[in-house]
């Protein structure tokens, strides 16, 4: 079979492929799924052996994150948050801990809660909260993503919070160069409040299961590897330099997205061509509805196109 014949066999319904484009046959669809999964496996392997090649380049600064956060609060008639050096330190330690112990969660694999970082730096709070983000392009998109999530939005627009600490840290998480943004909110015990001093119930925190401070002895600060700390008493925002010496060559997310769009687009095109030819030639066959497949795959393709890198927690 020559190349043209092979392409026709793959995309055009005729007797050689049982009147259905070969690429739409279950066996070929299964093969494409298997190839995609194999590609993901290879990419994961590549991430392990050569992590510095893959990653995500971003342009996020703590100063801008603070500015946009306070902008959102002002739009909702709330007082701006002021920077607290201890909270900066706590945010910095949290980010360092996430890289050191390779996790993306409010609670570390050893069960260390965010509140232990508050205690560790000596910040006594009435109210406390934490927002996390990773892999965003710029400061505005980070805050915008938090604002789109009800629990994170509640933290940003919580009138009880008076102070904030921020850190933006580059490092390697699960083999990928990553930019983590940690936002820690607090109200110190010295702040006069109308109600009885207490911490907020878990529902007002962003996905944090427990408010009970974990004993600080769980993980000693000295075990935090690769972490950068702001000098004591320094009020300026802390931004760790991390380990990134040069921007990564390409992002695993963008590579996967490109492949995903190509595969779904290929099947979408084949379905459309098959539907038109079957209709024109009045072919009768036992098969699912191409129109339904087109609508379904088209919807998911649109979802993929609109999916941007970045995650909040």
């Amino acid at each position: 079979m020559d190349l043209l014949g092979w392409v026709r066999h793959l995309f055009v319904p005729h007797h050689s492929n049982n009147c259905k484009a070969r690429i739409l046959h279950p066996s070929v669809l299964s093969l494409l799924v298997a190839l995609y999964l194999f590609g993901q496996f290879v990419l994961n392997f590549f991430l392990l052996v050569s992590p510095s090649v893959l990653g995500f380049a971003s342009n996020i600064t703590p100063e801008r994150v603070l500015e946009v956060t306070n902008q959102k609060r002002a739009e909702n008639g709330l007082a701006p948050l002021t920077i607290n050096s201890k909270l900066n330190e706590a945010a910095q330690r949290k980010a360092g801990d996430m890289f050191a112990f390779n996790y993306w969660s409010h609670v570390s694999p050893s069960g260390r809660s965010p509140w232990s970082f508050f205690q560790e730096v000596g910040y006594k709070y009435l109210y406390a909260g934490e927002n996390l983000a990773r892999d965003f392009m710029n400061s505005e998109s980070v805050v915008e993503a938090w604002m789109n999530s009800p629990t994170h939005r509640d933290n940003i627009l919580n009138p009880n919070y008076k102070e904030i600490g921020l850190s933006v840290v580059n490092g390697t998480l699960n083999g990928v160069e990553t930019t983590l943004v940690v936002q820690m909110f607090g109200t110190p015990t010295s702040t006069p409040v109308a109600k009885k001093p207490t911490v907020l119930p878990p529902t007002t925190m962003a996905n944090v299961p427990s408010l009970k401070p974990t004993p600080t002895a769980t993980i000693s600060p000295s075990t935090l590897a690769k972490e950068e700390r702001a000098p004591l008493g320094r009020v300026a925002l802390a931004q760790a330099k991390g380990e990134v010496s040069s921007p990564p060559l390409f992002s695993p997310f963008l590579l996967t997205k490109t492949i995903a769009i190509f595969l779904l687009g290929l099947i979408l095109g084949a379905l459309a061509l098959d539907a038109v030819l079957v209709c024109q030639r009045k072919i009768i066959r036992l098969s699912g509805k191409n129109v339904a497949h087109l609508i379904f795959i088209g919807t998911l393709l649109l979802a993929i196109i609109l999916t941007t890198p970045g995650a909040v927690l």
């Binding site: 669809l29 789109n148 997310f253 995903a260 098969s287 699912g288 339904a292 979802a303 993929i304 890198p309």
Partner: protein, 82 residues
Amino acid sequence: MKDLKHYLFLMAILSIGFGLFWIFNFNRQIQMWITVGLGVAYVLWGIMHHAIKKELHWRIVWEYFLVAIFACVIIIFLLART
């Protein structure tokens, strides 16, 4: 168009799913569950549609299942990249 009501029903399901996917943007775990839900809903729609038309066959069910798996696996692995 034949089966217009069926297709409108399918589009309604997918629109709701897409809307939820958009609302929960950046919450990857919920987005993954929405994707799985869409895949299951699609297979069920296919089965119901062909059963109503009295042309249900295991090969057709298999086809809907594979199309759903194909699209869902691709999107779930993409979501897992962040």
